[in-house]
Each structure stands twice: as C-alpha cells, then as structure tokens.
C-alpha cells in the first residue's frame, strides 16, 4: 500500500507541464530535459529499439499495441545499402478528436519540448530523418507553442544537421489539420498528410513498410511518444516499477460529464474505475446518481456500477467487455437520458464517417434515425431489433476501418445496460428525462409500467 501511494507521486509525463507558460528550452534542460535524447544518441538505433521493446510501453492512443513491436516492423538498412529508401518518416498523431478525450492537449500545450525530445528519440530509432506533428486544426495554442519549441530545438542543434555532434540529422514540422475525426486513423492521417482526401487505406501494406509518400512510416500517439524521454533517461526497471500490474508506466486518466471535479490525472497504470471516478473526479455532482460510463472515449462500451472495481489497464477493461481506449471517462448521470447520450454519440460518428464503405456510410445515419425516433417518442418495439442488426452490420470485419465498430460499442452496450430506458421510451411514447415532453401513450403506459419486462420478451 505504501508503495502504491509513493508511486502516485511519480508523474513523468506531466512533471514538466505548465499550461500558463511552458518551459523554455533552457528551463526544460535545467529540469532534466533532452537527457533521454542524449542517452538515445549514445546508443545504436537497435539498442534503443530493444530498450523500448523491453520497457513494455504500449500505445496510449486507444489500441494499446506494444510500441517497440510496432517499430520493429520498420525495415532497417546498413549504410550504403542500395535497397534503402531515401527517407522514412515519424508522425506524431496529435489529431485528438475522440469525444471525451483531452489528455494530449495537456502535453501539447503544457510541455511542447517533451514531445520534440520524444520525436527525436523515436525518429532516430527507426532511422527517419523527417518528422511531422499532425495537429488538429482547433488546437491553435498548441500549434504556436510547438513551433516555438521546434525553433528553439533547431537553434540549439537538437534538430537539423548532425544533432549534438552525432551523424544523425532530423527535420521536424507541424502540420495543422482542418478538422476531421477520421484523420486520427493512421492510414487516413497519412493520406491527409499527402494532400489527399483522408479516407483510410487498405492494409497491407502497413505504414511501417509503405506509409507516407510510399516510405516506411511510424505513426504514434502523443502520449505514447512522451514516455520515451523518461524511459531512456531512467531505464526499463524504473518504468516497469511505476505500475503495479503487467502494464508498464503511467497514464493520463481523465473524467468528464457531471462529476464534481472533471479533469486529468497522471497515475500509475491501472487505478480502478472507482478510484478515478470518486477519489480523483470527486464523484457525482450534488443531487445526481451514477448510471454508467464510457471508460476511454466515445468509441468504448458502457460499463456500470458492477464494473467499478475493475483496474483501468488494457487487459482488465477488455475482460469486462469494454476497452481502455484513451482512458478518459465519460460519465452518465441519472438526469441525463441514456438514449439521448447514445444518439449524440451516433450523430458524431455519422457526421465523421468518411463515407468510404457502405456499412459505415449508411449504417451510422440509419442508427441516428432510429435512435432519434425512439428519443422523440416515436419508436416502435421493432426498432430495437433494427439497432441490434445495425450493431452486427457495422462490426469488425465488415467495415473498412475501426470507426463504425467504435460507433457500435456504446450503442450495443447501452442496449444491454439501459434496455429498460429504451423500452420506456417506446412504451410511453416519450423521453422521461425531458420534462417538456408528455407521455403520448399515457393510457396505455399506465397499464404497461409494470409489465415492461414482459414486453421485452416479445
């Protein structure tokens, strides 16, 4: 117990975060910055790859794929090898647009030098001489601060030709996107960077082999990358000791919705949902009861009261039927309608669907139409079957990318955990959470309030 309390004070990712005025180059160096990159440049790329592999770092963008393994698919060449591509690329995925997710913003605005240092380490390891920060267009402050950090890094020879006397050369640029959720999907992001319409690509070929401009490319999430300077500086054992479970390191957890203290907290991997919800987010606001939550952004399955003691690590959350995702809780209270919540989420996915494949392009608006009908009190009992079928039509393996399956996750779990709410909307012809609506089928509904479960069996 004492150990877990002391571990709670280890906050490698956010220790240098200052949202008012991020650390300048000099201040960042004084605090211990660029030491991880220094260690990296003293090792061979292959050695650094081994360090990252053995550290157990997993991607923090949502999928949780081991970072070192992802990098290891990048082909490496000896100097002078005629088969070597003329370049490889590293891209930081800073297109943070998952509803309920705002963790990367903290790192981008509060500690821009940390990301620059991290990208030097990653690019050096995979042999990339060019990096892009793919930043969502709405993060204007982050764009300004990142450019400032990049300029300072060039001035101090941490970017550009022969970095710190080594033979390694790297250029880094910020690309500001123009607002589209699908750009967070790595192959769509690559198309966007090439100036094309940002639809995801078919895989294979995987970007590690043929990505940006047809060259080997690694796309990593901002939070994932920001772990690197600390792993290089402090070592594998230190990194693994932070977390009390099989996952290594710390993670930025968040909470939003009507909780007392919405926000972000860097914690060792694996606090329980209950700890984040009650100890850090302060529990529900006065007069509200907890109904359920999405554990890691809009595209994760609902979890409810019975799951609150689940640790927020990749495996544990998966075991109870959801995904850790981005680790940002979206909390539903008892005065907000679950059907309305799923409708809002589905509208988002329908709007942001790139339109490439039919299940997603047609399925998400169809689900919106049905959900809207139910929410407006016009739903029929058959609509629940339609929704269940749509969940099947849009599931993994039937779509071009993960967007539609992501849209299915909150819907299918809502149908499971908030089934009675869906039934009540249909039975009573109204939304009971919307006080301006009056039940349209009151005469029927008075008789049907208790036999709801009977109706459910039809």
């Amino acid at each position: 117990m004492a150990e877990s309390i002391s571990n709670n004070n280890i906050k490698p990712l956010t220790q240098w975060v200052n949202l008012q005025q991020p650390l300048s180059f000099d201040a960042y160096c004084q605090a211990g910055g660029y030491q991880g990159a220094k260690v990296a440049l003293e090792h061979s790329p292959n050695d650094v790859l081994d360090i990252v592999k053995n550290s157990g770092l997993k991607g923090r963008g949502g999928a949780g794929f081991p970072t070192g393994m992802k990098w290891s698919f990048v082909p490496m060449f000896e100097d002078g090898d005629e088969n070597a591509p003329d370049n490889k690329y590293l891209v930081a995925n800073a297109d943070e647009m998952e509803p309920g997710t705002f963790k990367d913003r903290l790192l981008l605005e509060g500690a821009p030098h940390q990301l620059v240092e991290a990208m030097i380490i990653a690019a050096y390891t995979i042999g990339a001489n060019k990096g892009y920060i793919f930043l969502r267009g709405e993060y204007h402050l982050a764009a300004k601060r990142l450019q400032q950090a990049i300029d300072e890094a060039y001035q101090n020879n941490w970017l550009g030709e022969k970095i710190q006397g080594s033979s390694y050369t790297m250029d880094l640029y910020v690309h500001c996107s123009a607002g589209r959720y699908i750009c967070g999907e790595e192959t769509a992001l690559i198309n966007a960077l090439e100036g094309k319409r940002a639809t995801p690509r078919a895989k294979p070929p995987f970007p590690q082999v043929s990505g940006l401009f047809g060259k080997p490319t690694i796309v990593n999430n901002v939070e994932t990358l920001c772990n690197l300077p600390h792993i290089l500086k402090n070592g594998i054992e230190w990194f693994q000791a932070i977390a009390p479970n099989s996952d290594a390191g710390s993670k930025i957890y968040g909470a939003c919705g009507r909780v007392k203290k919405p926000g972000l907290w860097e914690l060792p991997m694996g606090p329980t949902l209950r700890e984040v919800l009650y100890d850090y987010a302060g529990g529900m606001q006065e007069g509200l009861q907890f109904r359920g939550l999405l554990p890691g952004g809009a595209s994760t399955d609902f979890l409810v009261e019975e799951h609150l003691d689940t640790p927020m690590d990749f495996d544990s959350i998966a075991k109870v039927g959801s995904r850790l995702g981005t680790g940002g809780l979206i909390v539903l209270d008892d005065k907000n309608c679950p059907v309305g919540m799923v409708l809002n989420l589905m509208r988002f996915f329908a709007q942001e669907s790139c339109g490439w494949c039919t299940p997603c392009r047609d399925g998400t608006p169809w689900a919106v139409e049905v959900l809207n009908r139910i929410e407006q009190g016009q739903g029929k009992i058959q609509d629940l079957d339609t929704l269940a079928k749509l969940c099947d039509f849009m599931w993994i393996g039937k779509t071009h990318c993960a967007l539609a399956p992501g849209a299915v996750e909150p819907l299918r779990s809502a149908l499971k955990y908030f089934h009675d709410d869906f039934l009540q909307h249909i039975e009573h012809g109204c939304c009971h959470y919307n006080l301006s609506m009056t039940p349209k089928r009151m005469k029927v509904s008075q008789a049907s309030i208790s036999p709801l479960s009977v109706k459910a069996g039809q």
Binding site: M97, F102, A178, R180, F213, R258, N344, Q351
Partner: protein
C-alpha cells in the same frame, strides 16, 4: 446559370503575392506539391474568409492538383468553408461532454440571440453558427471556438454575453 471557364483562372492573376508566398513555403516542406493542398486552402481562406470556386481553381493551377481531388479535400474538412461565412464563425462543440453538461440550453440561447439555425449567417454578416465535433474542452464543457479563441464553461448567459461583446468591439475582454 453562370459557368466558370476553368482554363482562365491563372493563379498569378488571382492569388496575391502574399498568398502565393505562404503556399510556396508550405509546399517547400512537403515532398510533393499536392501535399500542400490543405495548407493552401487554409492560407487562401485566411485571406478571403472562405473558399470560392475561383479560389479552388487558382490553387489547383498553382499546385497542379486535379480540381476534383482538391474539391474532395476541401469538402472533407469541417474547418474549410465552401460557402461565404460571417465575420465570426462560431463553432459550438456538440460532443458528448458538452451534451451532458447543458449544450442544449446554450445552443437555444445562441439561436435565439442571433435568430439563426446551424449553418446560417446573421443578416448583418457578423456571425455564422456551426457545430464542432469535440473541441477537447471536455473538462470545461460546454465550449465553443470563435476564430482562434476557445470559450469554456459556457452558460446560456455567458455565451450570449460573449457574442454581444464580439458584435460591438470585435473582441472579448479578458
């Protein structure tokens, strides 16, 4: 109906020297000229407020991007406007965190104050109202973005207050 002769829109006659310089700078850091397409759209929109058909043809000419491909890019993004917009474009966040914390009442107040719906511009040309898919202000919801400014913890009153100040002075104090 007026048609546009695509062959006559020469970028040198249409785009300003400043616009061309900014676009060429973007093209210089990418491996291909077509990769600067999205940046070029943003540069021209910055100067002209929106992307007209003429602007699209001129960029197509400058960067040698097929017009259909550039149109495909322009219409793909939420922050590229292919129709004229008002002086201030309001991007009201309609994501789930804002929905759970009172978006509906803020939206109703803004619509009533400006007397417009989503996608419309006020008669005086001051404001255009659009939604935005999650501004990343989920812990400070509800939120909206106008220009490069983000406004958070909105209430119906504070949102209207911000719009009133913008209408009068063009900026919000503090």
């Amino acid at each position: 109906m007026e048609t546009i002769d695509t062959t006559t829109i020469d970028y040198q006659h249409y785009l300003s020297a400043t616009e061309i310089a900014a676009i060429e700078h973007e093209a210089s850091i990418m491996e291909t000229r077509e990769a600067a397409g999205i940046e070029a759209l943003k540069v021209v929109q910055e100067h002209r407020g929106w992307i007209s058909d003429e602007s699209l043809f001129a960029i197509s000419d400058l960067l040698a991007i097929p017009i259909a491909q550039l149109e495909g890019v322009a219409t793909f993004y939420n922050l590229i406007y292919r129709q004229p917009v008002g002086e201030h474009v309001i991007h009201l966040c309609d994501s789930i965190a804002c929905h759970l914390t009172g978006l509906d009442s803020v939206l109703a107040a803004i619509k009533q104050h400006l007397n417009i719906e989503y996608g419309q511009t006020t008669a005086d040309g001051k404001f255009t109202l659009l939604s935005n898919a999650c501004l990343g202000s989920c812990d400070k919801a509800p939120a909206m973005m106008i220009g490069t400014e983000h406004y958070q913890y909105l209430s119906p009153e504070s949102a209207v207050d911000i719009l009133q100040k913008l209408a009068v002075k063009g900026e919000v104090n503090g």
